[in-house]
């Protein structure tokens, strides 16, 4: 029976062509060249297609990410056969699969959202429908429609991988492709639609004058809690969910949820645990901004506006995703020599430090080469676009091109696969209750609490010492 790409990622062995860190550096340079070339072609306001308007470019970036996730995580490369995946040169494979992803992306945006949904359901998904309204210019019609599409994308980019990472594809894990992919796609799309209506539809409803009282909850139910009527409050926690899913999948290796033995309980706890961690991140990153810039003032613009602060939570969160993926894709999830909790803690600390450095570097320099604007809070400054665009390039490189040229793909033998599974199980078995572990947890919890308060106390001092925007 044709297996397509089911378990392809687990069953491929990526062999370094040179000792580290050469392959990691080669990959970084190679992907950054690809990033910059494609940024200039598609996104840069000074470049060729200038899609960074910003919402049009943002929408395509977000949906491309989801299409890549669909192709690999949900459809397991179907309809491409396993033998083709194993034997085709990475450059050809990367080109073909990327072209397919672009085709799917185009059909999705133009066919599904603008054509079907925008013409027969919700007018705000179709720029053509919006320009029929008095006073709406073509530019904003396109921007508004793109905004609606990308808000949907934000939700889908959390739920699509979450069904694989947290729910482990249940209950369709044993189904063949494309049955499995179609089932998960429909389920995650259905959930995304529900979440969209409950979180983003009201934002779209009050985007037009007068407020659309008859079709959306206006003012939205979150107004008092979030101190804004903007849907950016939801963009924030949903973006944190997306980042958390991938952190759990990559540098955490599905820890700590993999310690739960009972399948249904593990899946349930993982799904809602990811949301809980995301909410912790959502509130914390907002608090960090309050500590750095002062409390938000409702009705202001830019850095003091609550809606921008919530959006910036999502923007800050995505900076954590970049080093996390780099560690997993190009550093073989280093370190691996300690116990699972210690490895995870070390990787998390490295990710946090690298994310902070990347954040500073981005705001200090990006306007010099990305065509974006200097400053934190420009309404057209969306760091999520270049960061997710880079992540997309990395996904193409890692999933479609087997990390070529730094690595060579060799299919694992049955023995190697069994050995890997056993090693994973051993790591899980290694974490079991005993008094020493209990004492450690107690001490660790106290250290965690202290670290939290030290962080918020030092942050204003740290921020004042670094002149990020000159």
């Amino acid at each position: 029976m044709e297996k397509f790409g089911i378990d392809y990622l687990e069953e491929r062995s990526l062999t370094q062509r040179w000792p580290q860190p050469i392959p990691a550096i080669v990959s970084l340079v190679f992907t950054l060249i690809l990033f910059y070339a494609t940024w200039w072609i598609f996104q840069d306001p000074r470049g060729w297609m200038r899609m960074y308007t910003p919402y049009v470019g943002y929408m395509y970036t977000r949906w491309w990410l989801i299409v890549l996730i669909w192709m690999v995580y949900i459809f397991n490369y179907w309809p491409f056969k396993r033998s083709w995946l194993e034997k085709t040169h990475p450059l050809i494979k990367g080109g073909v699969l990327t072209a397919v992803s672009f085709g799917v992306l185009y059909i999705l945006i133009k066919g599904f959202f603008e054509g079907l949904l925008g013409n027969f359901g919700l007018a705000y998904f179709n720029p053509g429908q919006l320009t029929k309204l008095p006073g709406v210019t073509e530019f904003f019609a396109i921007e508004y429609a793109a905004l609606a599409c990308l808000m949907f994308a934000a939700i889908a980019s959390w739920l699509s991988p979450a069904w694989v990472v947290a729910c482990e594809e249940a209950p369709w894990q044993d189904l063949k492709q494309p049955g499995k992919g179609v089932s998960i796609l429909i389920m995650t799309f259905f959930l995304s639609t529900l979440v969209y209506f409950m979180t983003m539809h009201s934002h779209m409803g009050i985007l037009y004058y007068p407020w659309q009282y008859f079709t959306s909850i206006a003012p939205p139910y979150w107004e008092k809690f979030a101190n804004t009527v903007s849907g950016n409050f939801h963009v924030s926690w949903i973006m944190c969910c997306t980042v958390t899913v991938w952190i759990v999948e990559t540098i955490w290796g599905r820890y700590p949820f993999n310690l739960i033995k009972r399948n249904w309980l593990r899946r349930l706890v993982a799904f809602f645990g990811i949301i809980a961690i995301a909410f912790a991140m959502h509130f914390f990153l907002y608090f960090l901004q309050e500590m750095t810039w002062g409390p938000a003032i409702r009705g202001t613009r830019r850095a003091f506006a609550p809606d921008w602060r919530w959006l910036h939570v999502g923007e800050m969160a995505v900076f954590f995703l970049v080093p996390a993926l780099f560690i997993t894709f190009y550093c073989n999830n280093w370190p691996k020599k300690f116990s699972m909790p210690v490895n995870v803690l070390i990787r998390t600390v490295i990710t946090i430090v690298a994310a902070i450095l990347l954040y500073i570097l981005y705001y200090k320099t990006s306007h010099n080469f990305l065509g974006t604007q200097k400053g934190f809070s420009h309404p057209q400054q969306f760091p999520m676009i270049p960061t997710i665009w880079l992540i997309n390039i990395w996904l193409v490189h890692h999933w479609f091109m087997d990390n070529w040229p730094g690595w060579k793909m060799v299919p694992k033998t049955a023995e190697e696969i069994a050995r890997d599974h056993e090693a994973e199980q051993a790591l899980v078995r290694d974490v079991r209750w005993n008094p020493a572990l209990g004492w450690g947890m107690g001490v660790g919890a106290v250290v965690g609490v202290v670290a939290y308060f030290i962080t918020i106390a030092l942050l204003p001092v740290f921020y004042a010492a670094i002149d990020v925007i000159k």
């Binding site: 306001p45 000074r46 200038r50 960074y52 308007t53 910003p54 210019t137 073509e138 904003f140 396109i142 934002h203 009050i206 985007l207 037009y208 804004t228 009527v229 903007s230 912790a280 509130f283 914390f284 907002y286 608090f287 500590m291 002062g294 409390p295 003032i297 409702r298 009705g299 202001t300 613009r301 830019r302 003091f304 506006a305 609550p306 809606d307 300690f338 909790p341 210690v342 995870v344 803690l345 604007q373 200097k374 400053g375 809070s377 420009h378 057209q380 005993n434 008094p435 020493a436 450690g440 947890m441 107690g442 001490v443 660790g444 919890a445 106290v446 250290v447 965690g448 609490v449 939290y452």
Partner: protein, 391 residues
Amino acid sequence: MSGEKGKINRRDFFKGTAIGVMGGTLAMMGIYSYSPWRKGHFPKVERKLADIGACKNIKVTNISETSWFENAHLMGDIKGAGGLLVNQYDYNWPPFGDGSGLGKGSYEKGIAKIKHLLPDKLDEAWAVTEKLSVHPENAGGYACLIELEELNGKKHKYLLDSGWSYKWTDECFKREGIDKMLENREIEALFISHEHFDHFWGLPVTMKYDPTITMYIPEGFYPEGLQYIKDAGHKGKVIKVKAGLNPVIPGMASFVFAIPIICRVYGEQSLYFNIKDKGLVSVTGCCHQSIIQFAETAYREIKYENDNLYGVYGGLHISPFEDWDPKYDDLVISLGKYGFEKIGCNHCTGILCAKKFISAGYPVVEGTAQNRSKDKAYLGNGDKIGFGIEV
């Protein structure tokens, strides 16, 4: 392994510690970070109460608030050129059109076509740029005249901004007698709110009548803007105002906000006036920092009469393109709390927003919709407003 009885296994202990650190931190992040307890960490607002003095009154004449005449044309150009982040000098708008088409221009190529005609032969310069630019007929501009009376009765005149289209700005200057005031050196200084095309590119019109006028520009001008001041024929003093509060004369100060603005512009300068027995008045070009931020900044920085926010004039940059966003509703909902008694908004406030203000019951001073202004919901071209004085 837990080791011998009574001894703690170091490896297990560290394993537990790693679990505990992450658990403890995450728990605090989730429970504490958005709780009311967090507010205890915020520093108390210390009011600096800088004394900028007080003046008797100010009168503002709207020379032009119409920066462009057709929104669809402007937004079509912005869309065609690549969006709101494209450098404004690259759009190929007048006066920097070079004939190469939308989004393909540059300051150097554009100014080369007209530099020799500035500032005296503006009709000729505009005729040249009309042929080379994208949508020259759409250009308008923003400018206003501020007349201030000191407590001792001494009067001062200032210009805020200098429009965009040479043709339109000159026409407006003549309509309001600004040309004569400049020629007679009655106007003491030109404050440029920010580098945007509709506030700054009409600079040669002011230079035509008074090239020696002192200019106050906000810190953050790009090299093209600084060069344009020279190329426009300016021979007077240019004061680059640093971010923060900058007192000018008793009762008047400018405040520069270091903020990024669309079309690759950085920094905005707005004006504060402290009116005796009335309170604080803000006069703004576009107020990209938002009127509420401007009011909050005043609260933190300045001492003003009766601790009262009295009035507003100018663009409030809410829906300049008649676009909307729920965050603008946050502003409409919140503005009422600040208690402004006289709101003379126009320009980039947006007609839709002015109507929302009126619906919310705010004291908006309505206009006459004359001289190509589009709606009576706000102060139009040629309309006047007084603070501490009736006009």
